[in-house]
Symmetry: C2
DNA sequence: ACAAATTTTTAGATTTGTCTAAATTTATTA
DNA sequence: TAATAAATTTAGACAAATCTAAAAATTTGT
């Protein structure tokens, strides 16, 4: 597989999370920052290789083989991210770009050994689950911070938006995975939140709160 | 730079070691396992980018910029090889292929951090020197085992041929970098050697002996 | 339900890196 | 040194991945 094919497969996987049946050509084009006509060409090629179901004008979806392939690429991406943070002291906002390159390195043994070096991590630095060697993939039952009711507390477990800008915002405000956040108040007008994190009170916009995955603490 | 351009630059560097003035199109084609016409095309492109001196029919050579570029790629290749052996327990015959892929990863910080993780190694698993961050490159004054006179001893410091086949031969015969070898006898007819390594006596063909870099022990 | 808007595909062009075959230049040698 | 051989370059083609513009299919809205 070429890098480009792998990137399309990965995009298709990300677009198919949730209850998505088929993915539109335009959706893929937007995700890949390319033109719909280029997507059509690639879908034909991936279809011939048995990686996607494709009928013209009917949208596209991954085959079982395509899903397995996507998971293998995502596994590589996320293991490399862990490596960069744990072994080379990169920050979580620096690793995505480099992992985008490293995910295309072809060597099963390399990934197995890397997994071992990192002690078989289950999550990447952004809290995203790392698929297993044989395609096992645990979709977490995540809630977003803006879905937590007033008065309840939750633990940060991941970020939905993993752009450097968002990650640096979290760093700047000392919000990290594992932190406990209590919802003190919700502003009706703009859905912003007043929260308690550690000893500090903070005000978070709806945009921030809807990009933080949390696990609510059972009372 | 594309992967292909980088591979050509690296090939040109390897072809220019020694007292080579200019490199022929055919030599490059052979090294790259491609056709001379493809080489011509690429030399034009590299010339426009200021990486090589090229005049048609007159052969090619690296510019200072080209040399610097080559050293940076070789540095990456060799650091990755050390990583694979030291951190992921690969054997020295397994690392070349994977390093060929890893050497194209673009991130200066990644390489600096990797260098640090590995404690700034000066040689790769095959005994080849690792260029410095700023292009410092120590060509060792290597001798080959077949150049050592009878009765003298030498330490293995590197391999000229780093093919998996040759490396596995050395493993099988328990010859490793750092070992001391004494020349007991030379066979005039085929230039083969009788050597002493540790407590063992071995017979090495000329082909083997001319692919082992050694440092003679001063008496 | 049918015209308009949107989405998707096709057709043809472009770039990169490669190839083959033919032409050209340089090197060899009789 | 002139003919022959070898090396190199040019010309034209191809595959991969992309693009633009036009055509075709589908969806939407009244």
């Amino acid at each position: 597989m070429t890098h480009s094919e792998e990137n399309y497969i990965k995009a298709l996987f990300h677009l198919s999370i949730g209850d998505v049946e088929v993915i539109s050509t335009n959706a893929v084009a937007e995700k890949m920052e390319t033109k719909p006509s280029s997507v059509t060409d690639m879908m034909k090629k991936l279809s011939e290789k048995g990686l996607v179901h494709y009928k013209k004008y009917q949208g596209v979806s991954l085959t079982d083989l395509g899903t397995k392939t996507a998971l293998s690429i995502i596994r590589k991406h996320r293991l490399w991210e862990v490596f960069l943070v744990e072994k080379l002291d990169f920050t979580w906002d620096e690793v995505h770009e480099i992992a985008e390159q490293l995910e295309h390195i072809k060597s099963e043994k390399l990934i197995d050994k890397l997994d071992e070096l990192l002690s078989f991590p289950k999550f990447d630095p952004h809290g995203d689950p790392i698929p297993g060697k044989n395609g096992e993939f645990i979709e977490r039952d995540n809630q977003l911070l803006n879905q937590i009711p007033i008065g309840f507390s939750a633990i940060c477990v991941g970020v939905k938006d993993s752009s450097a800008a968002f990650l640096r915002f979290l760093d700047k405000n000392n919000i990290a995975l594992g932190n406990e956040i209590k919802i003190l108040e919700k502003e009706e007008f703009d859905n912003s939140l007043r929260i308690l994190i550690g000893q500090r009170e903070l005000h978070l916009s709806q945009q921030i709160a809807s990009n933080l995955y949390v696990k609510m603490i059972k009372l």
